[in-house]
């Protein structure tokens, strides 16, 4: 089932009564989530991604705007009647119930024509448990399970009533690194198997990129960019998105464009025809550097970190906004930091220009440098 968000806005009254300022948690969100896809809602904390999720779930009511499931307007529908599954960050398992009781709980609440017999319920619960591979643990209490197991129970509980929409609120943040990797594959697998439209909230861009069909990057309640993970990475709409995606993060320099030529400090690094003259922020992905003795960009290297196939060179540059410039280059290209300077040339499609004021991307046509 597709989900349509139309001009979705959420305004919270200010907590501090004296100042009386309102907080706009989500501002005019428009998006259509295609049926059967997994969407990652991505952004730093406080960006409104959880609020969006809660509005989809019905736990919070939008201040304005509409939500559609398929063609049905569900904006006024209460959570109980939306037929969604939601997995909470800390799982929210009922501590006094066994795993089985936890999974059965949503089924016992079904009413009317959806009502199931005891056997049907048990079958469904078994099936859900099998899907998340916890069918051995049905008689345990949540406190007797590990974090990963609890997470699976929470997913099973969300899936058991066969929701049209599955919502996941930071589902992996309480797990350790290995388990996180494993579980996100699991989630991807389950989503594929069930084909449920899924919305996934996370602040971890890597997580979002790795499993989402599409990601939505948000900041301060405003959607920054929507697209397939790779597209967003390769073509960030603004400095924020560029900075937010990618590990190691993008390197940002102060630069200026003069007559179609991009300068970092006094070094002319790239022809950027079409870009207007003026000061700009320049983002260069770590993998956008090429070791090149004749390259236009010279940095003072501090350290080389060997990462196996690649090496990461940490250096400084006077025009860099961050203290360090990090480049990732092929280990074979033999970075030598003993000389005191290292010179790079830049892959043009890994370099982005942004407006100093607005942070908006400034497009340019790639020309041969030199």
């Amino acid at each position: 089932m597709k989900i349509v968000l139309q001009n979705l806005t959420k305004i919270f009254p200010s907590r501090n009564k004296k100042s009386g300022e309102e907080v706009v948690a989500v501002n005019n969100f428009n998006f259509e989530i295609p049926d059967g896809k997994l969407i990652g809602l991505l952004g730093p904390s406080g960006c409104g991604k959880s609020t969006t999720l809660y509005m989809i779930s019905g736990l919070q009511k939008p201040s304005s705007g509409r939500i559609f499931f398929g063609d049905d307007d569900v904006t006024e529908l209460s959570t109980e009647n939306r037929g969604i599954g939601l997995v909470f960050q800390n799982y929210a398992l009922y501590p006094h119930m066994t795993v089985k009781q936890n999974i059965l709980f949503p089924l016992q609440n079904l009413k009317g024509k959806d009502k199931l017999t005891k056997e049907q319920m048990l079958d469904r619960a078994q099936e859900a448990a099998r899907l998340v591979q916890i069918d051995q643990l049905l008689d345990r209490k949540p406190s007797e399970l590990s974090g990963g197991q609890q997470q699976r129970v929470a997913i099973a509980r969300a899936l058991v009533k066969m929701p049209k929409v599955l919502l996941l609120d930071e589902p992996l943040s309480n797990l350790d690194a290995r388990l996180r990797l494993q579980t996100r594959e699991e989630i991807r697998r389950i989503q594929k198997e069930t084909g449920i439209t899924t919305v996934f909230v996370t602040h971890d861009q890597e997580e979002a990129m790795s499993i989402s069909d599409m990601i939505v990057v948000m900041k301060l309640g405003v959607v920054q960019q929507i697209g397939k993970p790779q597209e967003v990475y390769d073509d960030p709409a603004n400095l924020f998105v560029a900075k937010f995606l990618g590990t190691p993060p993008i390197n940002v320099f102060r630069g200026s464009v003069r007559a179609g030529q991009l300068y970092l400090g006094e070094e002319a690094v790239l022809k950027v025809s079409g870009a207007p003259d003026g000061d700009v922020d320049v983002g260069i992905r770590p993998e956008g550097f090429l070791l090149d003795p004749q390259g236009p960009l010279s940095c003072s290297p501090l350290n080389v970190e060997v990462m196996g196939r690649d090496v990461s060179v940490v250096s400084t540059h006077p025009a860099s906004e961050n203290p360090m410039v990090r480049s990732i280059i092929n280990a074979d290209s033999g970075a030598d930091i003993s000389s005191g300077t290292v010179r790079y040339s830049i892959k043009p499609h890994k370099l982005f220009l942004f407006d100093r004021e607005s942070g908006k991307r400034i497009p340019f046509e790639v020309k041969q440098h030199g």
């Binding site: 779930s57 736990l59 709980f105």
Partner: protein, 297 residues
């Protein structure tokens, strides 16, 4: 060589301190136990007194020099206590009042605490503060007015009058609300997603999770029924509805208005027994119930 001697020295040092530490630790524990046992004796003395008094003769009890061990153990006091006070009837009455008022009181407390802990409504904070403020008013003053109220309602000498006026306890509401507040909000949201109503969530999730608090409220309430005196005496002092403490006070008066204390003590001991047993067996719950109230917020 140097290294070795150093490490040896080090070891010896450790051994020394640990021996001293051990001695110190033993001393500390000795102190702790001595303190606790002394305090325990002080706490226990009145109970001891109650028990030995309950087997004394009235003459011995009235001696100007009290005896610390009864000269003669009169277990007959217990039999007398049971028959003269018609303890059977009193027990039944107290049990009826205790059980009914506990159940109703629990329901009301749960509903109210839920509203204060989970629901949003105008004036919530103000109302709660007002409730807490009522705890500061000397309760004796309520008696006069309440008495005329229940008389107007025609409730004198009924079980109703023993049960209804004290169903709402601000203290219990406070305890339970604190407990409810500590149940993570996510559970409530999860339950919403799982399709439960507030009502079902309250009884299926919050109540089971607050069981220790509810049990301690139950016990406190039962104890209240067991110990209540002034109000029952005023409003339901007929044979059919008399409660236990009242019965005790009345039954052992002899002609001079004096009280046959040993028999009364025996009766008090008899009456305390059920509460005592309940306490011993449910200590864990009472403990966690009261302490879990957590006092936060």
């Amino acid at each position: 060589m140097t290294q070795k001697s150093m490490s040896v020295m080090h070891d010896r040092d450790l051994g020394k301190t640990s021996a001293r530490q051990k001695a110190g630790k033993a001393l500390v524990y000795f102190g702790i136990y001595a303190f606790l046992i002394l305090m325990a004796l002080i706490v226990l003395f009145p109970f001891y007194w109650m028990l030995i008094s309950s087997v004394k003769s009235l003459e011995e009890y009235r001696l100007s020099t009290p005896t610390l061990w009864p000269r003669m153990i009169l277990l007959g006091n217990y039999a007398e206590a049971f028959t003269t006070a018609a303890l059977g009837r009193l027990f039944v009455n107290t049990l009826i009042v205790g059980v009914v008022s506990t159940i109703l009181s629990l329901v009301i407390t749960v509903l109210t605490a839920f509203a204060f802990a989970r629901l949003e409504f105008k004036g919530k904070e103000l109302l709660f503060a007002a409730l807490l403020a009522t705890m500061m008013i000397p309760g004796e003053l309520f008696t006069i007015t309440n008495y005329s109220t229940v008389t107007t309602f025609g409730w004198i000498n009924t079980y109703t009058v023993l049960i209804v006026p004290f169903l709402v306890s601000v203290f219990y509401i406070y305890l339970l609300r604190q407990n409810f507040l500590q149940i993570p909000n996510e559970l409530y949201l999860a339950a919403k997603v799982d399709g439960t109503s507030d009502w079902k969530y309250l009884w299926k999730v919050m109540v089971p999770l607050s069981l220790p608090t509810l049990i301690s409220i139950t016990i406190l309430k039962m104890m209240g029924a067991w110990n209540s005196y002034i109000w029952p005496r005023l409003v339901a002092n007929d044979e059919a509805h008399r409660l236990i403490t009242n019965g005790l006070r009345n039954a052992f008066t002899d002609t001079t208005g004096d009280v046959n204390y040993p028999v009364q003590m025996a009766a008090v001991a008899l009456v305390s027994l059920p509460l005592f047993l309940v306490f011993v067996f449910l200590r864990k719950y009472i403990m966690s119930g009261v302490s879990r109230s957590g006092i936060k917020g």
